[in-house]
C-alpha cells in the first residue's frame, strides 16, 4: 500500500501492462522524451524505449488511424490525444471507423486499443481545453468508455482497458492528476462495467463521474450534517458498459435520483441514466429526478466564472436539499 498521485497511477497502469505484453505500444504527441504534456507518461520512454513509446507529429488523424490499423493487425496500442476535445480533429476514427469495424466486417476484424483523453475543466484553460467530452463517445455504438476518479481505479481500469479486445476510451481528468490516493502493491486489474457505491445512503442516490464523484461526496457529507439527508453516492466509473444493476438497485432503495455531470447539459450521460430509471423503475420513484450539470454553455476561462459553471459542492447541496425538501412537503 502506498500513496500515489492520479498522474503517477496512469504511469504505473501503463507500465504494468507494457511489462506484461510487448505488443502494448504507446503513441502520441510529446508523450515520449518529454513525458507528456500532463507528465502522465514520464519514464515510459526511458523504460520501454523509442520503439514502444513513440512521439508523433501533430497529426491526430494519423495517430488514431495508426493505432487502429495496428490494433486490427495484432498490436495493442495506447494512443494519447492530450486535451480531450482534440478528439474533434480525428472524430472520424472515433465515431465512424474504430467502433464500426467489428460489426461491419461481421466479426472479421476488431480494434483492441485504448485512447487516452485529458478530460474536464477546473484548470482555467478556457472553452477549447476544458471540456468533458465522454458523451461524444457514449453516443457512438461500439466503444467502451471509462472515466476513473481515483488512482487505484486508474490502474485497474487501465489494465482492464488494455486487456479488452474492444476499443476503450479512457478519460483521465485533468484536474485530478495531482490528487492522491492509497494504492495496493502488486498487479491491479479491474473490470469494465462495474460502478461503485462510494458512500452508502438511504435517502437519495447521487450518481457522479470522475471529478464530480469527489464533489458529490463532499456534498453528501454536508447534506448529512446540515440537512439530515443520507445520500448514497455512486461512482459510475464505466459509461459503457453501464452498470445499470448497481444504479437501478440504488434508486430502488432510495427512491430518489440525482446526477452530477460536468458536461454541458444536453444529451449528457445523466440524461441516459434518467431515461433508464424513468422507464424501468418508475414506480419505485418517490419524486422528480434531477440533473445537476454545467449549464449548456461553452466554458469560460476566468477562474471565478469557471467555478460558477461547473457543479460545485455548494450547488449540489443546495439543489439536492431543496428538491428533497420539496418532495417531502
Amino acid at each position: 500500500m502506498a500513496e500515489l498521485s492520479y498522474r503517477d497511477a496512469v504511469i504505473r497502469g501503463i507500465s504494468q501492462e507494457m511489462r506484461r505484453d510487448k505488443d502494448v505500444v504507446l503513441i502520441g504527441e510529446d508523450i515520449g522524451k518529454a513525458g507528456g504534456v500532463f507528465k502522465a507518461t514520464v519514464g515510459l520512454y526511458e523504460e520501454f524505449g523509442p520503439l514502444r513509446v513513440r512521439d508523433t507529429p501533430i497529426s491526430e488523424q494519423a495517430i488514431l488511424g495508426a493505432a487502429m490499423g495496428a490494433a486490427m493487425t495484432g498490436l495493442k496500442p495506447i494512443a494519447e490525444l492530450m486535451f480531450a476535445e482534440f478528439a474533434a480533429v480525428c472524430f472520424d476514427f472515433i465515431a465512424n471507423e474504430i467502433p464500426k469495424q467489428r460489426y461491419m466486417t461481421n466479426g472479421q476484424l476488431g480494434c483492441p486499443l485504448v485512447i487516452r483523453f485529458g478530460n474536464g475543466g477546473g484548470v482555467r484553460f478556457g472553452a477549447q481545453h476544458s471540456q468533458s467530452i465522454e458523451n461524444w463517445c457514449m453516443m457512438i455504438p461500439g466503444l467502451k468508455i471509462v472515466a476513473p476518479s481515483s488512482p487505484v481505479d486508474i490502474i485497474g481500469l487501465m489494465a482492464a482497458a488494455v486487456r479488452s479486445p474492444d476499443p476503450v476510451m479512457f478519460f483521465e481528468h485533468k484536474a485530478l492528476y495531482a490528487t492522491k490516493g492509497e494504492v495496493p502493491d502488486g498487479e491491479i486489474v479491474d473490470v469494465l462495467g462495474k460502478a461503485k457505491i462510494v458512500r452508502p445512503g438511504k435517502d437519495c442516490t447521487i450518481v457522479a463521474l470522475a471529478m464530480m464523484v469527489h464533489r458529490a461526496l463532499g456534498a453528501a457529507d454536508i447534506l448529512a450534517r446540515d440537512h439530515g439527508i443520507d445520500a448514497e453516492v455512486v461512482d459510475v466509473r464505466s459509461l459503457v458498459p453501464l452498470d445499470t444493476q448497481c444504479i437501478l438497485g440504488s434508486v430502488v432503495k432510495t427512491g430518489r435520483l440525482f446526477t452530477v455531470e460536468e458536461n454541458p447539459r444536453l444529451c449528457g450521460w445523466g440524461a441516459e441514466i434518467v431515461s433508464i430509471v424513468a422507464d424501468e423503475v418508475f414506480w419505485d420513484l418517490d419524486g422528480p429526478i434531477v440533473r445537476i450539470t454545467t449549464p449548456h454553455i461553452p466554458l469560460p476561462a476566468a477562474d471565478n466564472l469557471e467555478d460558477m459553471a461547473l457543479p460545485s459542492v455548494a450547488r449540489i447541496v443546495e439543489r439536492v436539499s431543496k428538491v428533497m425538501n420539496g418532495s417531502r412537503a
Partner: protein
C-alpha cells in the same frame, strides 16, 4: 503516358514480366471486368440494393498491384473496392453476395458493397469515408515494422482523396517512420462528378505532392497492367527492404458513372470514347498478341471467367437474405452488443 521514374529507386524498369505473370494479369483483369459488368446487370435487375461503385476501366491497377503481392501483404481499399477484393482471390460469390446483401456475402450483408473485407485474404477492409484508410494503412505497416514482419501494406484511393487532410497526415507519418506502405492513387480524373482539375492546386494530385514528403515523383499509366506490375514490385521491394513508403499515381478512367446513381453526364463529349481506346483490356490483348500468347490460352481464361460469373450469380440469387440473428451480433468482441448489464 510513360513512367516518370526516379532512376535511383529503379521504379518500373522496362523488363519483360514473363509469360506466367502475363496470363495472370490477363485473368485478373478479365475476371474483374466480367464480375463488375455482372454487378451492373444485377443493379438493373434491382438485385443490388443500396449503392455500388464499379471499377470498369480501372482493372489494370487492381490486377497489377495484387499480382505483385504475396499472400501476407495487406490491402486497404475504398468503397470502389470490388476489383481490389477480387484481385486478392476473394471468390466472386462472396463479393456479389455482399452487393446483393445476402447471407452468402463476405460480411453476410452487414457491411455492404462499400466495406468489402476479407481478413482471410488480407483484404483489411474497404473504407467509405474519404481519407481515413490512408492513416489506418500506416498502422498496419507500423505493426509489420514493429514485429519485424516482411509484409507490405498497400493502400488504394482516388484522386479526390488527395485533397483531404488525412492524406497529408498519413503521407508525412509514413515517411518519418519509414513505414512499409505503398500508397496508390487511382487518378480517374473525377471525384464524384467534379473534375479533379477544377479543385486541385497542382495538375497531378498525388505525384505533384510527393516532394512535400521527400518522396520521388511516380506517375504511371494505370491502364497498362505490366507497367503497374513492375512499379508495384519495385515499391514493395523497397518497402520490404526498409526503404519506406512510396506514393504512386496511376492515370486511368472509369467507364461507368461514379456510383449506381450516376449517369456520368458531366463528361465532355468524346472523353469516354478516347479512354475506351485506352481500355486496359484492349491494351492487354494487344500486348499478349505482341508476346505471342496463344489464342487458346486467352480463350480459356475468358471462358473460365464467364463460368465463374455465372456460377457466382446463381449461388447469389439462390442465397437467403441476411440472417436476422446477425442484427445485434459482433458489436463487441464477445459477439454481442451489450452496453449495459
Amino acid at each position: 503516358m510513360t513512367a516518370d521514374t526516379t532512376a535511383s529507386r529503379g521504379f518500373a524498369a522496362n523488363d519483360d514480366i514473363g509469360q506466367a505473370a502475363r496470363l495472370e494479369l490477363y485473368r485478373l483483369q478479365v475476371e474483374i471486368r466480367d464480375c463488375e459488368k455482372r454487378a451492373y446487370d444485377l443493379f438493373l435487375q434491382n438485385l443490388v440494393k443500396g449503392t455500388s461503385h464499379l471499377s470498369l476501366g480501372q482493372e489494370a491497377i487492381a490486377a497489377g498491384f495484387a499480382a505483385a503481392m504475396g499472400p501476407s501483404d495487406k490491402s486497404f481499399c475504398t468503397y470502389r473496392g470490388h476489383a481490389h477484393t477480387l484481385a486478392r482471390g476473394v471468390p466472386m460469390e462472396k463479393v456479389l453476395g455482399e452487393l446483393m446483401l445476402r447471407d452468402n456475402g463476405l460480411m453476410r450483408g452487414k457491411g455492404g458493397s462499400m466495406h468489402l473485407t476479407s481478413a482471410e485474404h488480407n483484404v483489411l477492409g474497404s473504407y467509405a469515408i474519404i481519407g481515413a484508410h490512408l492513416c489506418i494503412a500506416c498502422g498496419s505497416a507500423w505493426r509489420a515494422q514493429y514485429q519485424g514482419a516482411t509484409d507490405v501494406t498497400v493502400c488504394f484511393f482516388g484522386d479526390g482523396t488527395t485533397n483531404i487532410g488525412a492524406f497529408h497526415e498519413a503521407l508525412n507519418f509514413a515517411v518519418i517512420w519509414k513505414l512499409p506502405v505503398v500508397f496508390v492513387c487511382e487518378n480517374n480524373l473525377y471525384m464524384e462528378y467534379t473534375p479533379i482539375s477544377e479543385v486541385t492546386a497542382v495538375p497531378h494530385p498525388a505525384a505533384d505532392r510527393s516532394s512535400a514528403y521527400g518522396l520521388p515523383r511516380i506517375l504511371i499509366d494505370g491502364n497498362d497492367a505490366d507497367e503497374v506490375l513492375r512499379t508495384a514490385r519495385t515499391a514493395y521491394s523497397l518497402a520490404r527492404a526498409g526503404g519506406g513508403p512510396s506514393l504512386i499515381e496511376c492515370l486511368t478512367y472509369r467507364h461507368s458513372g461514379h456510383s449506381r446513381a450516376d449517369p456520368g453526364k458531366y463528361r465532355p463529349p468524346g472523353e469516354l470514347e478516347k479512354w475506351l481506346e485506352r481500355d486496359p483490356l484492349k491494351i492487354y490483348r494487344a500486348r499478349m498478341a505482341e508476346f505471342g500468347v496463344s489464342p487458346d490460352a486467352i480463350a480459356a481464361i475468358e471462358v473460365e471467367s464467364k463460368r465463374k460469373v455465372e456460377e457466382a450469380t446463381s449461388l447469389c440469387k439462390a442465397a437467403p437474405p441476411a440472417s436476422e440473428s446477425l442484427l445485434t451480433s459482433d458489436v463487441y468482441a464477445d459477439g454481442g452488443w451489450a452496453w449495459r448489464n
